[in-house]
Amino acid sequence: MGPELHTIHGHRAVETLAAKLRRRQVVGSREAALETVLVLRQVVSKARFSNIQQLIAVIRGVGRRLVEAQPKEHTVGNTVRRILHNIREEASSATKVSAAAPARNVYTISKFVLQGQPRKHNAGVPKSEATATLTEDDPNDPDSFARGLKPVLMEAIQDVLDELETVYDNVSKNAKDHIHSDEIILTIGHSKTVEAFLKSAAHYRNYTVIVAETAPSYSGHDMARSLSSAGISTFLVPDSSIFAIMSRVNKVILGAHAILANGGLVAVAGSLLAATAAQAHSTPVVVCAGQFKLTPLWNLYHDYGALDLGDPSSVLGFEEGKLVERVDVVNPYYDYVSPELVDVFITNDGDHPPSSVYRLIKETYDDDDNEL
């Protein structure tokens, strides 16, 4: 019984999302993550399986399909990994409820570094055969396992969904501890997380934000409009003046598209400029991002295409016929910002230095899922 058989369930929804991702009709890391959760919930609710491995194979199949459709939306893969992690946990705890508590292996630092957070089901699965409540591969009633487990799994998926929905609030709940009165903050692009973070801090503090306009998408314009309408004193500056004004800036706050395992990040184009300028002026660089952006990838910065080069039309008008023929336009959407340039990540799971991002990743995902 190959897993392929099972992928037919929820196939339509998967294909639709894959097509949407491919056609860039779903963009933005949070939206992509949300859509992925919804599709996976559908897949799991329809899936037929008699042991946990089958279900995991189904989800991985779907995940692979979605990631292949759009490898640049990292949150899709992250969400799949996260759900796999949660499902394993739920399944193992469910199957060993009545089992006698196994002799747990001893926690050691070295083991932790090597394997990440220990998974309980390692020990639990073989022993669960004994339980009467949930039996894997029951020959009499193959669906009993799925029937018993599904409510728990749905709950696990719902947790992921809830986390995604509350991520902005949770990231910004400690905003007032990071921003002090009369500070000057510089930001770039229109990151929803940063926007919520700044607005939340504005309830307690009186400070100034300088927004770089973020050519050629000019998403900085929207950001400035949004912040100033929330009563924050806002300046909009061209990207070219980032270095010049950096000496007056107290803190640089960046959003992220994806946080890589080495502590670097993929962020809107111009972030590298801001981060480098900040380093030259020894200004702290703070990155606000939800946990779902943690991506277990190391080698992205070797990949030129990972910067997601968009169409040249925002840089060079199509009507400039003579130039279009002679000029090659490079219009990357993202920058890779290396970990040395970042001081701290503020996530919905607390604040972390870049050097400990790998640990967060190990906690959040299972190592087996790094390659879907």
């Binding site: 196939h11 339509r12 294909e15 639709t16 097509a19 491919r22 056609r23 860039r24 009709q25 292949e68 759009q70 640049k72 030129y304 295409g305 080069l309 968009g310 169409d311 040249p312 039309s313 008008g317 199509f318 009507e319 400039e320 016929g321 003579k322 279009v324 023929e325 090659d328 336009v329 219009n331």
Partner: protein, 881 residues
């Protein structure tokens, strides 16, 4: 028309979840890709390693189209098979694709539309595209805008998607394009004029009503036609009703917009974001490939959403290499920018590849050089080959050291021997021996038969093939074509010279693309681009208000000749009808008004240009004059009688253009042997009847048509024309002598002068600058018919220039060079015409808001012209490019 749901409420609900339908015209109805399209439909040619049809499907899928009808004609089996095997026919694609095979007798998009009508497949507004579209335009937004418009205006039947592209753009077709006249506020397309690259068009004709009705119009020559049309259900039925509509743009759009009866509106959607272009010819194949590689089509780019389902890795410099690690690049090969390399392709040492697309499973030999080359799948390029600016089909074998220079097209399966050196623009296909079997397998419809006979013909001319193709070649060299070949070609879009503008690698720099007739014109003309359009200088019949550079001319150039061709049949019919009608009028003594009404109706019915009517009327009058040989004065009386009785009819048929009248008279007299002598007397009679004045004669005299240009020299017609022209010259001499005597009366108000026709000459003469230049600048070769429709109302104001402004000529709108020339200068300077030349890109011109009022004032011959004139003068200064 399919029935609509009955109640309004139901309909609203239906609108919500209506299935968006699209129709793909998968056949191109022309042969621009021959010989690549021997044995294969064009829509299955690959571009960037995915078939054109896949790109089209993807473009439509982006827009959320749910049901697609593919209209195929030639090689329908292959198209159907391709659709069946593609990812699109899987249920998960969410798109229902229905191939529809039309009859072999479908020869134009219009025929296909009629077919759609008979199939009754269209239930709501639909998207009409061609099968060679590459687009990322949000068509759903266009559809929304279209539906929105339909809610308030049921006559908005079509929305054309256009893209601003500038006058010179690699993706904009140089061969076939169009000029759009838009209302900038509503983006309604008020007029459309098809433009050919060759012969170059120098002018467009815009109906005067448009200028009268719209305070602001935009004339755009920089639009790229994306060939995406959102049509409402009645569009196919309109095609059904008008069986002569062939092309969607040239016939349908033009026809609908110029029709007096249909009263339908067409709108344009200027796509600001997004990219859309069609691969209509090999030149645009090159351009669109480059646009895809330089990511204009994002997110439809090889590394992201490749319609063929391949995945490519995007490397610095827009290099795309297939991702599955199957490409073997040697250490010393050079891969330049903007290159795409398909999977399982091997590139040997020291090969250089630049700005090229290479298919799957190809082998590029050591030291080969590819530049702007498009190589389809499974092709082998030998060692040391050179391929530049060419398209090489699949399964082709190029031997060692073969040189494929600019513009070559090598069809599938060709083998070219070692060391062969092709000439530029060589077209090569495989000999029929092997391929005819394949044809026999498939359906052997007319199309394949046609092709067979075509190939046979080519086989008959293979004297030099062996020397060109090298030994062991299995190929045929196609005839190279020449301008002389296209005499029998009916469609001038497919003429050799025009096709040259559409083929890959041909910059056509040797083609004479500037306006041949505009010798007098100055710098702005020569520096303007090949397809530039000149706004026309004022014609004598225009009142000063009719506006800035938008004035129009009756002598529209070649552009309108196009339509005369297509409606040639209708015209013959029309001519006989007019002859009969006039016969009746003369015999039964109808009043001039009644005869005029009858003629107008006839003209509407058969939709011919005004010029034809004028020619017919002038001709009929000349023919009715009883010949009195040997008695000049008796003859004169006869003519005077005739002209007095029927002359006014000439100006009552719907527009006034004395210059054209003289021209018609000249051509008629020159052709009608014995009546040639009547020309002079007729002209004098017309002059005395106030139907023409001196300036008109002068203008006529200067026009190339009057000198008989464009008529074969030596023919009797040309001689006749020449004689008439000389007669005219003499008359002019006399007139100018007379008018000099009376020049003191120059300042006299026009109205009083009117009675004494002879005095008019001088007072009007300043205006003649424009007239004469206009006519000099006008149609170089043939007496072009007019397609301008004039409101009869304006005819009254004709000879009534503002009282004050007699000494102050009304300038053409563009201020720059339009210096007032001295009155009645013998050779007027060319300046005004060229100044009126509109830069090719776009000229958005606002017609002063005062237009309607002024027009009224003038037509009722009030004397309030002073201020109006000033006002419009100011506005004219502001306007212009």
């Amino acid at each position: 028309m399919p029935p609509k749901s009955s109640s309004g409420k139901e309909k609203d609900i239906a609108d919500e979840d209506e299935v968006l339908q699209a129709v793909i015209l998968a056949d191109s109805f022309n042969k621009r890709f021959k010989p690549l399209t021997v044995g294969k439909p064009r829509c299955l040619l690959p571009i960037c390693n995915a078939t054109l049809l896949d790109w089209t499907f993807e473009s439509l899928a982006l827009a959320g189209v749910q049901e697609i009808f593919v209209i195929c004609r030639s090689y329908a089996d292959q198209v159907k098979a391709a659709i069946r095997d593609s990812k699109w026919s899987k249920p998960s694609s969410g798109i229902k694709i229905v191939p529809i095979v039309t009859a072999k007798e479908t020869f134009s998009p219009g025929d296909a539309m009629r077919d759609i009508y008979t199939h009754q497949i269209i239930t709501s507004d639909f998207v009409l595209v061609t099968g060679d579209l590459v687009s990322n335009v949000r068509i759903d937004e266009v559809v929304r805008a279209h539906k929105e418009r339909r809610r308030t205006n049921k006559d908005a039947i079509m929305t054309i998607v256009v893209k601003e592209a500038g006058a010179v753009h690699r993706t904009r077709s140089r061969g076939v394009s169009g000029v759009y006249v838009l209302d900038p506020n509503t983006s309604e397309c008020l007029h459309y004029e098809p433009v050919l690259g060759y012969p170059p068009a120098s002018r467009v004709t815009i109906p005067r009503e448009i200028l009268a009705e719209h305070p602001e119009v935009e004339i755009r020559n920089d639009f790229m036609d994306c060939s995406i049309d959102v049509c409402s259900v009645e569009v196919p039925s309109l095609f059904q009703d008008n069986f002569d509509y062939g092309d969607i743009r040239r016939d349908f759009v033009y026809g609908v917009l110029t029709s007096d009866l249909l009263m339908k509106n067409i709108y344009c959607y200027v796509a600001k974001d997004g990219y859309a272009a069609r691969v209509a010819d090999t030149r645009s194949y090159d351009a669109v490939s480059k646009d895809i590689l330089s990511r204009w089509t994002f997110p439809l780019v090889p590394d992201n959403n490749h319609p063929g389902g391949h995945s490519y890795e995007h490397l610095r410099g827009n290099k795309y290499i297939a991702k599955d690690n199957s490409v073997s690049l040697s250490r010393t090969c050079k891969i330049g920018n903007n290159t795409l390399i398909g999977s399982h392709t091997t590139i040997a040492e020291n090969a250089t590849i630049h700005a090229s697309v290479i298919g799957q499973r190809c082998t590029i030999g050591a030291g080969a050089t590819l530049r702007d080359a498009y190589i389809f799948d499974d092709t082998e390029v030998g060692e040391g080959c050179f391929v530049g600016g060419s398209i090489v089909g699949s399964h082709v074998k190029l031997g060692k050291g073969v040189r494929v220079p600019n513009g070559c097209i090598i069809a599938d399966g060709v083998v070219i021997g070692e060391g062969a050196r092709l000439r530029n623009f060589e077209r090569v296909s495989k000999k029929r021996g092997a391929s005819s079997k394949a044809v026999a397998d498939g359906s052997d419809g007319d199309d394949e038969d046609d092709e067979d006979s075509e190939l046979e013909e080519i086989e008959a001319h293979q004297e030099d093939a062996a020397t060109i193709l090298g030994k062991d070649s299995n190929a045929l060299v196609w005839p190279r074509g020449s301008p002389a070949d296209d005499e029998d070609e009916l469609d001038e879009r497919e003429h050799y010279n025009n096709l040259r503008l559409m083929r890959i690698g041909d910059d056509a720099s040797d083609l004479e693309l500037s306006d041949a007739g505009s010798n007098t014109s100055s710098d702005s003309e020569t520096e303007s681009e090949s397809s530039s359009i000149h706004a026309l200088s004022r014609t004598s019949s225009m009142t000063s208000v009719s506006g800035p550079s938008l004035s129009h001319s009756d002598l529209s150039a070649q552009t309108s000749a196009i339509h005369s061709l297509s409606s040639a049949a209708a015209e013959t019919e029309f001519r006989s009808e007019v002859a009969q009608s006039l016969e009746r009028a003369f015999d039964e003594g109808h009043s001039v008004e009644n005869a005029a009404v009858e003629l107008k109706t006839l003209r509407m019915a058969s939709n011919v240009p005004l010029r034809r009517v004028r020619e017919a009327v002038v001709g009929a009058i000349v023919d009715r004059v009883p010949l009195v040989p040997g008695d000049a004065s008796a003859q004169r009386t006869e003519i005077a009688k005739m002209v007095r009785r029927w002359g006014p009819l000439i100006d009552k048929i719907g527009g006034v253009d004395p210059v054209e009248t003289i021209e018609a008279l000249q051509y008629h007299c020159a052709a009608a042997g014995p009546r040639q002598g009547l020309f002079a007397q007729m002209l004098v009679a017309l002059y005395q009847q106030d139907l023409v004045d001196e300036d008109d004669i002068r203008a006529w005299h200067k026009s190339p048509a009057a000198k008989g240009e464009g008529v074969k020299p030596g023919s009797p017609l040309a001689e006749g024309l020449q004689k008439c022209w000389e007669v005219g010259a003499k008359l002019l001499e006399q007139l100018s002598e007379e008018s000099e005597e009376e020049s003191e009366e120059e300042e006299a108000p026009k109205a009083t002068v009117k009675a004494a026709a002879k005095e008019e000459g001088e007072s009007d003469s300043e205006e003649s600058e424009d007239d004469s230049v206009r006519s000099e600048d006008s149609a170089p070769s043939k007496p072009a018919p007019s397609s301008a429709l004039r409101p009869p109302a304006s005819s009254t104001s004709l000879n009534a220039p503002p009282a004050k402004s007699t000494s102050q000529p009304v300038q053409p709108s563009v201020p720059a060079k339009a210096a007032p020339a001295p009155a009645a200068a013998p050779t007027p300077p060319p300046a005004p015409a060229s100044a009126a030349a509109m830069p090719a890109q776009s000229a958005s011109t606002s017609v002063p808001k005062t237009v309607p009022r002024v027009a009224k004032a003038e037509s009722s011959e009030e004397s309030s012209e002073d201020d109006d004139d000033d006002e419009s003068g100011e506005d004219e200064d502001e306007a212009g490019p």
